[in-house]
């Protein structure tokens, strides 16, 4: 037993000793020697480069020229790195290059040259295998001949990697970085399908369109980003990829900000969106390096989205708090973890956002479904009310009594009354099916009703209407209701003129209906039902964007109804 414990302790000690002595995973070069120009001797290990300028690898500048770079490493260091594994020289650069190890060529990516014509572009990501047999004790030298004539634009830090590590394919190394982002891509793709589907089903659903665009643009950005892992393209294509990433990041941000504005602060959209776009474009122009440009292009819009969500929070819009929290968290991630933001957090964040919006959207749809159900019920109720009013005994039976008398005392007038009544009923029936009719139809209905009422009272009730510039939509039977109300509250014994004045200016419709005041002393205050009908119809057609007020005016009761034309 004691022996077993001792053995375990020994093993643990060995393991910890082994951990301490574990071979290093890579070797970075602090400084490398750089010389412009071309000389085959520069490849030789024994060449004396002490007079050359020294740079950190990241500052190597091959753009527009042919240069040689020499990097020294001790043989013991290489053997320690090796630890029985093959080694690779990881040289990712926006340049064509030939690599020599201790004077022997170990590979090339394209062919460098002094002029654009002489250079053949090579792959951006390339790992060069370091043959064991070439490793020697003492000084070992990597000599790289490189040139970059085909980028089409000047970039900062064209050398992306310059280190030694156990050999691995460049694609698999790169892929490992993108695994979380690619996984998030699945959720984002589903989001794109779902939200575009929603938009296709209902073209009025602009917020779904915005979300679909967020997902699609983010997916395209992810595609452009991970292209580098799937395809070892030649370095000049890198610019195309960077432009694509930048453009898609801009679009993703713009769609996200648009969504947030539409959803939480529609009235502020005209301030937030241009401001965010301006900030984004300024970042694209001014920021150094494409990673920064891309990050700022997106983050400016994210800031706009956050502003809209905060405005929505103040206005107590549902979901605004969650959205503000999400946008805020993503912004914070960009500031606190900028190194992995674009490659990983960005896509995970977008995916998380899409999932959250899924949930929000489902809740919203449920709320909308309920609202629609209520609206349907209201429409049915209003239709019922409208039709019911016409078969109410007080209207119908009195009209029929008068009609019978006209038919017996003056058949021609009797037939005229049948015509008017028939016309009114037909119009009402047609209108009852709709939530909007044209103003001219409404006037026709009022005229028919006044014809019937004239014959009932044996007086002449006429309608005076101005000719509006153009016909416009109007909720059904609201003016008719005002005229009916007038008959309920006045004693019209003699001829009377009813006036309707309509005007549409600057997208605002205003209708004034004037009914003569012939007050009966004992009328009840029963206008409630009629006015409630008008209010319900206006609310159905224009939500809250309408007004109605009424009062006496030179012997008339004037009711003014106005709304914003849609």
């Amino acid at each position: 037993m004691v022996r077993l414990i001792l053995t375990l302790i020994a093993l643990a000690l060995c393991a910890s000793a082994a951990a301490q002595d574990a071979p290093p995973q890579y070797h970075l070069f602090d400084k490398v020697a750089v010389m412009a120009g071309d000389n085959p001797d520069y490849a030789r290990p024994e060449f004396d480069d002490r007079g050359w300028e020294r740079f950190a690898p990241v500052d190597i500048e091959p753009q527009g020229r042919l240069i040689w770079v020499r990097a020294h490493i001790d043989g013991e260091r290489l053997t320690a790195l090796q630890a029985g594994r093959p080694l690779g020289f990881f040289l990712y650069a926006l340049a064509s290059r030939e690599v020599y190890f201790n004077g022997v060529s170990i590979g090339a990516a394209g062919a460098p040259g002094a002029t654009p014509a002489e250079e053949i572009p090579g792959a951006l990501d390339q790992v060069f295998y370091i043959p064991d047999r070439l490793i020697r004790p003492g000084d070992n030298v990597f000599a790289v001949r490189m040139s970059s004539h085909h980028l089409g634009a000047h970039v900062h830090n064209p050398v992306h990697a310059f280190h030694i590590a156990p050999y691995r394919d460049s694609a698999s190394a790169r892929l490992r970085v993108y695994v979380p982002a690619i996984a998030a891509g699945g959720a984002i793709a589903l989001g794109a399908i779902y939200f575009f589907g929603l938009f296709a089903a209902n073209r009025k659903n602009i917020t779904s369109l915005a979300l679909g665009l967020v997902a699609l643009a983010a997916l395209a950005q992810l595609g452009a980003e991970t292209w580098r892992a799937f395809d070892r393209y030649d370095y000049p294509l890198h610019m195309t990829r960077l432009y694509a990433i930048l453009a898609f990041a801009f679009l993703t941000g713009a769609a996200l900000a648009a969504y947030s504005c539409l959803r939480f602060a529609p009235r502020l959209a005209k301030f937030i969106l241009p401001a965010a776009a301006l900030l984004s474009l300024a970042g694209v122009v001014l920021a150094p390096g494409y990673d920064h440009k891309t990050a700022i292009a997106f983050l400016a819009f994210l800031l706009g989205a956050l502003a809209a969500a905060l405005a929505g929070l103040v206005a107590k819009r549902p979901g605004a708090a969650y959205a503000a929290l999400g946008f805020g968290a993503l912004l914070a991630a960009a500031f606190f973890a900028p190194w992995s933001f674009l490659d990983q957090i960005y896509y995970l964040g977008i995916a998380a956002l899409i999932v959250a919006l899924f949930i929000l959207q489902i809740r919203l749809l449920e709320t909308e479904r309920r609202a629609r159900q209520e609206a349907d019920l209201r429409a049915i109720r209003l239709r019922h009310e409208l039709l019911n009013r016409q078969i109410q005994p007080h209207f119908l039976m009195n009209t029929l009594t008068t009609l019978a008398e006209w038919i017996e005392s003056d058949p021609r007038t009797g037939v005229k009354m049948i015509d008017s009544l028939g016309g009114e009923m037909r119009l009402l029936y047609e209108m009852s099916e709709k939530s909007r009719v044209s103003f001219s139809e409404e006037i026709e209905l009022c005229r028919r009703h006044l014809e019937v009422m004239s014959l009932r009272a044996a007086a002449e009730f006429t309608l005076s209407v101005n000719e509006p510039a153009a016909d416009f939509p109007c909720p059904p039977a609201i003016l008719l209701t005002l005229i009916e109300n007038a008959f309920t509250h006045n004693e019209y014994r003699d001829d009377a003129v009813f006036e309707i004045r309509a005007a549409e200016t600057g997208g605002r419709v205003a209708i004034v209906c004037r009914t003569p005041m012939r007050r009966a002393e004992n009328t009840q205050n029963g206008a409630g039902a009629g006015l409630a009908y008008i209010r319900a119809r206006l609310a159905e057609a224009f939500d809250e964007d309408w007004s109605m007020n009424a009062g006496p005016e030179n012997g008339f009761w004037a009711t003014t109804i106005s709304w914003t034309a849609r």
């Binding site: 009195n398 029929l400 008398e405 509250h489 004693e491 009966a520 004992n522 029963g526």
Partner: protein
């Protein structure tokens, strides 16, 4: 001669009603009067006699049907309601109208209603539930009282005094004769000039010389007609 008063806001309907009513009355038809509003009707109604027929529309330019029924209470005339709204029929009958005709009406239906008005109240009709009259003050309006609050009715010259439980009195121009048929078995005409409600009878007193008297719980003493004493005993079960 039977005079007509047509209270109707629609002139064509009024014209039709008058024509049919005059046709039904034939040579008995007297003067026709028309009123289109509550105010006009209230002015004319007191001039009617028990030989008049009053046609009432229960919807006059939006006026309350309940207010319109007060016109009926102010007049001894027989009242026929002619209305588009049949839902008010029960209320009208509860106020003692003789008929209720729905619009649109036929000549035959109006003739039938006129016949009923001439015949007086149908003894098989259910009793009225309300009785209306004007307050004692000159400018007091017409009000209605449920029968349960009516202690007694006292005939005066050309009106009837309605004595209510609280001691208040209402005056109506309806005759005691007409009211008697409308009131139902709880009420009994104990004297040519008095009708009492059984619920308010306190004591039945007999005096020398075959004189009888009821003392009501309101404190009022009401004489009993000599020829009616036996019937009053039977009604009271004493």
């Amino acid at each position: 001669m039977i005079d007509l008063l047509i209270v109707e806001d629609e002139p064509m309907a009024a014209q039709r009603l008058e024509r049919f009513a005059r046709e039904a009355l034939g040579p008995k038809a007297g003067d026709s009067g028309f009123a289109r509003s509550l105010q006009e009707a209230a002015k004319v109604a007191p001039r009617l006699t028990e030989k008049s027929i009053l046609f009432l529309d229960l919807n006059l330019f939006g006026a309350d049907g309940f207010e319109i029924l007060k016109i009926n209470a102010q007049t001894p005339a027989r009242t026929i309601v002619v209305s588009a709204d049949q839902s008010r029929a029960i209320e009208a009958f509860a106020h003692g109208v003789v008929d209720f005709v729905a619009k649109p009406f036929t000549k035959e239906r109006i003739a039938q209603a006129v016949g009923r008005a001439l015949a007086g109240r149908d003894p098989l009709a259910p009793p009225v539930e309300y009785i209306g009259g004007a307050g004692a003050k000159a400018d007091a309006g017409v009000e209605f009282a449920p029968l349960s609050e009516v202690a007694a009715l006292h005939g005066a010259d050309d009106y009837t005094e309605i004595e209510l439980a609280g001691g208040r009195r209402l005056l109506t121009r309806k005759s005691l004769q007409d009211l008697e048929t409308a009131l139902g078995p709880d009420f009994f005409r104990i004297h040519r000039s008095h009708i009492v409600n059984k619920a308010y009878v306190g004591k039945f007193l007999a005096f020398s010389g075959s004189r009888y008297q009821l003392t009501l719980t309101t404190g009022e003493n009401v004489p009993v007609g000599r020829s009616r004493a036996d019937d009053v005993r039977k009604w009271l079960g004493v």
